[in-house]
């Protein structure tokens, strides 16, 4: 598993190439890239600054990745999250999951994103024509996280 919280941009193709290197059991790679979008809550966005809790952000991403490894049949996971100031169109986050079969890869990838969105200590401050503002959490993100709670899971997480 590779977890990185970094200011620098990432090369998704290189990350995916590393993820699958020398593992012929992998038949499926599901990945997600999050980008700085031009619009949020109806206003034009030109850039954003990402703050995080350095002592906690990477460790909780590792914990989320380990939960995914326990829950689905997957071979490996890469999660990269950027911090600092990002311009319109820049990459924010990469989640890539390698698995023998596609369904496990898709589920694990979406699971990691849903938990990252609601549990990892990152905060976005957007720049708009009206000035800077902290991004408000979306109720749909919390609903997405809740949808993964497995009542039959007794692993204690």
């Amino acid at each position: 598993m590779k977890i990185s919280v970094q200011e620098n941009d990432f090369d998704a193709a290189m990350e995916i190439a590393e993820l699958r290197a020398n593992n012929a059991r992998i038949g499926a790679i599901a990945s997600f890239i999050g980008l700085v979008r031009d619009n949020n809550a109806g206003d034009a966005v030109t850039a954003m600054t990402l703050e995080h809790y350095p002592a906690m952000s990477a460790s909780i991403l590792l914990d989320i990745g380990e939960q995914a490894m326990r829950r689905w049949r997957i071979e490996d996971v890469t999660v990269i999250h950027r911090t600092g100031t990002l311009q319109l169109g820049e990459q924010i986050v990469l989640v890539a999951v390698a698995a023998p079969h596609r369904h496990d890869a898709f589920l694990a990838c979406e699971f990691i994103m849903d938990f990252l969105k609601t549990a990892a200590p990152f905060w976005k401050k957007e720049r708009t024509a009206q000035g800077e503002r902290w991004v408000e959490p979306r109720a749909t993100d919390e609903e997405a996280r809740q949808s993964w709670i497995d009542p039959t899971d007794i692993s204690g997480r």
């Binding site: 809790y53 906690m56 990252l116 959490p137």
Partner: protein, 83 residues
């Protein structure tokens, strides 16, 4: 005893402080929050029950009933919005 308290994002800005070491008699997160709310109206408002802040002790999310020990790092922050 002494603990470290960290504030992030909107709370860091509203309180004008990112990190502080404060004396704290052993107790729960709720007891710490009561002390912080006593610092003034801005603190009371941002840490009111309606505000959706989260608390972590030593980088693990906890409930307000969690106990704080000497040397702990307590972080208080708004709902996360990464990804």
């Amino acid at each position: 005893m002494t603990i470290t308290v960290l504030y992030f994002a909107r709370l860091r800005e509203e309180f004008g402080i990112a990190e502080e070491s404060i004396p704290f008699a052993a107790g729960t997160v709720a007891a710490l929050l009561d002390i912080l709310r006593g610092r003034g109206p801005e603190w009371a408002q941002q840490l009111s029950a309606e505000c959706n802040y989260r608390v972590a002790i030593n980088q693990k999310l906890v409930d307000v009933g969690a106990a704080i020990k000497a040397g702990d790092e307590v972080a208080i922050f708004p709902p996360v919005t990464g990804g």
